[in-house]
């Protein structure tokens, strides 16, 4: 759900751009985790559907059987080809988006190919396309017509053209920041299910306050972005619902900050200081959070904890700014590498990321998850498959976890975005990390890193530590 505002006709010139990447997605993502009845066990779930990889790190059903398939775009006797579309160097915030995402997809393909491929064929990327920030729709239209493309992986800043791709019947796997575009499309897949679109609340925000021992929360967002403002609204709503019982309240809310902080944020931070804010939730981009942190330090608010909007696993970012970021919190929706991941898909990811020299960040992880979904879909469709059958087969899976990397998603339901309490997945699960000494540190039980809340209970309750591996 990243809504990026830019004023450039193309890259370079004025980029008023902020992404709400994980802030909004975390916000919304909490609505999208589906699961079974919330049983909090660590036992591996039994395979109850064919071809899915639930609770297992080795692909169930092996690598499928080979049978000749004709007339399906991107499928030859040797390979199944996909395209990656993303925003590369033109990304004005300097995030490694296209490159890291594509590397994550490729790493998964390499891994998958090393254990036999899919349906007797290799998985490969036939084309990697950079949309240069503003040509998203044009590139999308080109890829639709491309006969060497079975499905499209997309990590772009804007989502123009996504609807065209979906309506053309091309399966598409996208990233969390773009997730709002997936609402209602059966062939568009988001790593943790389509996030909440409206009237959202999320337990994780409150949990972060509890972790930080905070009672007075401040929320920051940019005025020019509707998504930023809704993110702020979401946090406010969250604390209105569950805060009073816990003695936590939002004492400062500002959703009209100017992108880039041309006038600094001195007065805003002073207001937070006056209000006694001890936890700051951010609906702004990563780089701007650094500015906020600098101002907090300047005004002596060293005890105030800041929640990062996104950026898990971006080791370079943390190291470059270790002093500023010390003590900051972050919510993670994939299995944190700081948990006990031995023998899990997370370990596999790290192993293959290392082999291919992948620059690990949250987009690389999402690339891996997306690629796993693609492979799973084809395997689930059986040896004779096409786009629609793969999509349909995958949409029968009710508890997809990408090998334990994410909390289970019920794909029979999660194409429609939750709104308020409608279509809410049964549970909301998150892991929490803190930046300590220039690295991420898991908060909680390394064996049960996820904290899960029961979405059917409307009052606040303590989360249950869970593992999905």
């Amino acid at each position: 759900m990243a809504i990026i505002r830019t004023q450039s006709p193309t890259i370079g010139p004025k980029t008023r751009w902020f992404t709400l990447f994980l802030a909004a997605t975390l916000m919304a993502a909490s609505c999208s985790n589906s699961s079974d009845d919330g049983a909090s066990t660590t036992a591996a779930r039994p395979d109850d559907t064919t071809g899915d990889t639930t609770g297992d790190t080795t692909p169930a059903g092996g690598s499928g059987l080979f049978e000749p398939v004709s007339g399906v775009p991107g499928v030859s006797n040797n390979a199944i080809s996909f395209a990656v579309m993303g925003t590369g160097a033109a990304n004005p915030l300097g995030l490694c988006l296209l490159d890291c995402y594509a590397q994550g997809v490729q790493a998964y393909f390499d891994y998958r190919n090393s254990i036999g491929g899919v349906n007797g064929r290799r998985l490969e990327l036939s084309t990697v396309v950079d949309d240069d920030l503003v040509n998203t729709k044009q590139k999308a239209l080109e890829l639709i017509d491309d006969p060497d493309v079975f499905g499209i992986f997309a990590a772009t800043v804007f989502q123009d053209g996504y609807a065209d791709i979906a309506e053309a019947g091309v399966p598409m796997w996208i990233t969390m920041p773009s997730a709002a575009a997936a609402d209602g499309y059966d062939n568009m897949f988001v790593p943790i299910g389509t996030p909440c679109a409206e009237d959202c609340r999320s337990h994780f925000a409150v949990q972060q306050a509890i972790i930080a021992g905070a009672t007075k929360v401040g929320v920051l967002g940019f005025g020019v972005s509707t998504i930023s403002r809704s993110c702020v609204d979401g946090f406010v709503r969250t604390f209105e619902q569950w805060g009073p019982g816990l003695g936590i309240e939002v004492v400062y809310k500002n959703d009209s900050l100017t992108l880039g902080f041309p006038n600094g944020i001195g007065p805003e931070v002073t207001a937070m200081k006056d209000a006694g804010v001890d936890l700051v939730q951010t609906c702004i981009d990563q780089n701007s959070v650094l500015t906020v942190l600098q101002e907090l330090r300047r005004q002596g608010m060293d005890d105030t904890t800041v929640v990062l909007p996104q950026g898990y696993a971006d080791q370079r970012f943390i190291e470059d700014n270790r002093d500023l970021l010390e003590g900051s919190l972050l919510g993670v929706f994939t299995l944190p590498f700081e948990a006990n991941i031995e023998g899990t898909a997370a370990a596999t990811f790290l192993e293959w990321a290392d082999k291919s020299d992948v620059q690990v960040n949250d987009f690389a992880i999402q690339g891996w998850v997306d690629a796993d979904m693609a492979a799973t879909a084809i395997l689930a469709a059986g040896p004779v498959f096409d786009r629609q059958s793969a999509v349909d087969a995958f949409n029968r899976i009710t508890d997809y976890t990408a090998g334990g990397l994410i909390s289970p998603v019920d794909w029979t339901l999660q194409h429609d975005a939750p709104r308020g309490t409608d279509n809410l997945p049964p549970q909301e699960c998150f892991a929490f990390v803190r930046v300590t000494d220039g690295a991420f540190e898991l908060i909680g039980d390394p064996d049960k890193p996820f904290l899960c809340w029961d979405n059917t209970i409307s009052e606040w309750h303590d989360p249950v530590p869970t593992s999905f591996t």
Binding site: K14, C96, A163, A180, G266, N287, T291, G311, F317
Partner: protein, 689 residues
């Protein structure tokens, strides 16, 4: 409580000082450039960006120590850029009207950052805040009155700004250097008659102001989370407001204006939210006026400070010495060969369209649709700039008004988008008319700046309102605009809508041409030549201007509506933002703002240049195989900005644009071949806009 208010005020003042220093620095630089070169150098921010990027590259990426980095980026690159700008570009514009230089500066604002990015292979990286020139510049703080503290970088910037202001003011007051530069600004030729080497003085002036731009860039950079040319341009616009306080010639007042602006904004941001807690009617002000404050100030200063407009400007009495800008040559009455050529051209166009419709893939169809809708917007530029002679930098905002109106009507009242488009055009026309009223007493450059202020104001404020912009809580992707249905003709497919767009474009083109030849058109052209002369023959300049603005705004609004219908969603940021609108102007002006062909060529270039040229599609087509395209293609889209940004340079000598210039050359050649000259050579009174 009251003692607290005192402290709070002081705290706010202190908090406003660092951003205020940034504005002061840029305002100083802007005034310096204006005083020493006579040019409204909007590209000041781009020059600052260039040095900031080089400093970042050398110091942060290559690890050079501070001093060599500083030396190279501020004391070598910056003056070099100034030297090149003066000798290659602005020296030849000395006798051109100020508006021409402004257009060139706009082109440079777009081209220079792209050149820098390409040459230095620069990409911002997240988490790397630009470093300043002082060690530990952003981590060591010094408390002030125990109320606030300043970082080393900030103190450095404040020190440099103050020292620069004093030094420059002293230079102008006590030395001959400033005097010589001012003399050259007024009349280089007269200066030479006084025995002074005008060209050398001009070069030193540009090198000085460019050096300052570089210095400002390096000092400003640490305040931004990442280096982006747009940030620097924003600050230039704000700084103009500060510079305007000093009537553009007083350095100390520009400095104070900048500081005052920063402090005022900090005070606003401190007290309005507090008061808004008790008085909710203030809330809209907090949300909306504060981000737009500089632009409001700029607009008010322009409208209400008469001293500014009558700032010391005197025409160069010896301007005629240099060959005057080429006059407009109105083409000869259609001769046979011209008819043949036009037929060929039209046939080619028709053939291209047929190919497009039958064999064009969806990407091309989409781009063609974009181009057609944008062409309608660009036609509005031919009205306001080509016909009426004003530079309007807010056409993007007018287009956005049309777009949003269409969306709102369709979303709320389920109106047909076509009706909505017409309504959007009308609303935009009304906005244009309203805007032009306070601008009545402005002229030339000031109109351009006022429209720029409005564009930024719109961008900062209007877009956020749910009744003008996107409703809150709705993701961009959800701003769905449906395609129209006329009778049995459902235009859901790109092809059918393209046909519709082309029809609308054709009608609009004909309308604009008719307007141009009509009495109204002549009236607008008359006021372009000389408002006083026009008044003397009974034309009301006020009415002409209001009419021009409303027509142009209406057409832009229509174009904007068509654009969002074509895209089936409203995406303000990629389509209508102020910076995008600058590039529109550049394109239209390069091709020729006086004829519809310029608008159409510009729109085609904007949408298709990337795909057809830069990505090698054309070469691939020529070579019959996309695989044989040379390895260095596709080229970065930034080249488009570079090429066309630099294309404005020829604007001053050829204000009629590339297309008309080519046609004039053909006509001249034909006239020279003929023995009798029956061409109309209209030495246009309005040789340049």
């Amino acid at each position: 409580m009251f003692a607290n208010i005192g402290e709070d005020i002081v705290t706010a003042v202190l908090q406003g000082a660092p951003p205020g220093t940034v504005y002061a620095l840029v305002a100083l630089g802007f005034v310096l450039a204006y005083k020493t070169s006579g040019v409204f150098n909007l590209a000041f921010g781009a020059q600052a960006y260039a040095s900031a990027v080089l400093y970042f590259k050398t110091h942060a990426e290559w690890g050079w120590p501070v001093l060599p980095s500083l030396a190279v980026s501020v004391f070598v690159l910056a003056p070099l850029v100034g030297f090149l700008l003066e000798s290659l570009i602005f020296r030849h514009l000395r006798t051109a009207p100020p508006v021409s230089s402004l257009v060139v500066a706009i082109g440079l604002t777009i081209a220079i950052p792209s050149i820098v990015d390409l040459a230095l292979d620069f990409q911002p990286r997240n988490g790397q805040i630009p470093l300043g020139i002082v060690p530990n510049g952003n981590s060591v703080y010094y408390p002030v009155f125990d109320l606030y503290s300043f970082s080393r970088d900030e103190l450095m910037a404040m020190g440099v700004a103050t020292a620069a202001m004093l030094a420059l003011a002293a230079m102008f007051r006590f030395t001959m250097v400033g005097l010589k530069m001012r003399a050259v600004v007024e009349s280089p030729r007269l200066t030479e008659l006084n025995g002074l080497a005008a060209d050398r003085i001009s070069i030193s002036a540009w090198m000085l102001s460019s050096l300052f731009a570089g210095l400002a860039g390096v000092l400003i950079a640490p305040r931004f989370p990442t280096l982006a040319p747009g940030r620097f341009f924003d600050i230039v616009v704000v700084a103009i407001a500060a510079a305007a306080v000093g009537a553009l010639v007083s350095l100390p007042r520009a400095y104070i204006g900048g500081l005052a602006l920063g402090v005022a904004i900090a005070l606003f941001n401190t007290f309005i939210p507090r008061w808004a807690n008790d008085h909710s009617w203030l809330r809209p002000m907090q949300n909306n006026i504060t981000p737009a404050l500089p632009f409001v100030v700029l607009f008010l200063v322009l409208v209400f400070m008469p001293g500014l407009r009558r700032a010391r400007f005197a025409a160069d009495p010896l301007a005629g010495v240099d060959p005057p800008p080429r006059s407009t040559v109105i083409p000869a009455p259609i001769s046979a060969s011209e008819i043949v050529r036009r037929t060929l051209g039209t046939t080619l166009l028709v053939v291209t369209l047929i190919v497009l419709f039958t064999r064009g893939d969806s990407a091309f169809l989409y781009l063609a649709g974009q181009g057609a809708a944008l062409a309608v917007v660009y036609l509005s530029i031919t009205i306001i700039t080509g016909l009426a002679g004003h530079i309007s930098l807010c056409q993007g905002s007018f287009a956005a008004v049309g777009a949003f109106t269409t969306y709102q009507l369709a979303a709320r009242y389920d109106t047909s988008v076509l009706v909505g488009a017409v309504a959007g055009a009308l609303v935009a026309a009304a906005v244009g008319a309203l805007l032009s009223v306070p601008l009545i007493r402005l002229s030339g450059v000031w109109i351009a700046i006022a429209t720029l202020a409005f564009a930024f104001f719109f961008d900062a404020v209007m877009v956020k309102f749910s009744w003008t912009g996107a409703p809150s809580g709705v993701a961009t992707g959800d701003l769905v605009v449906p395609r129209p249905v006329i009778g049995p003709w459902d235009m859901a497919s790109d092809k059918s809508f393209l046909a519709f767009l082309l029809a609308v474009l054709a009608i609009a083109t004909v309308a604009v041409m008719l307007l141009s030849r009509s009495t109204t058109g002549r009236m607008l052209r008359a006021t372009r030549g000389s408002e006083i002369a026009a008044q003397s023959i009974g034309i009301s300049p006020t009415r002409a201007r209001v009419l021009a603005f409303s027509l142009a705004a209406g057409l832009a609004g229509l174009g904007g509506a068509l654009l969002v219908i074509q895209q089936e969603s409203v995406n303000y940021d990629t389509n209508f933002a102020p910076f995008a609108a600058l590039f529109w102007l550049v394109l239209v002006v390069t091709f020729g703002a006086r004829a519809p062909e310029g608008a159409i060529a510009g729109a085609a270039t904007f949408t298709l240049f990337d795909k057809v040229v830069l990505q090698g599609t054309f070469i691939g087509w020529l070579l019959r195989s996309p695989d044989r395209v040379p390895g260095l293609l596709p080229v970065s889209p930034k080249w488009r900005l570079v090429l066309f940004g630099l294309g404005t340079i020829q604007y001053a000598s050829h204000p009629e644009g590339v297309l008309e210039m080519a046609r004039a050359r053909r006509n001249r050649r034909r006239a020279e071949d003929d023995d009798h000259d029956d061409d109309h050579v209209e030495l246009a009174l309005e040789a340049s806009v």
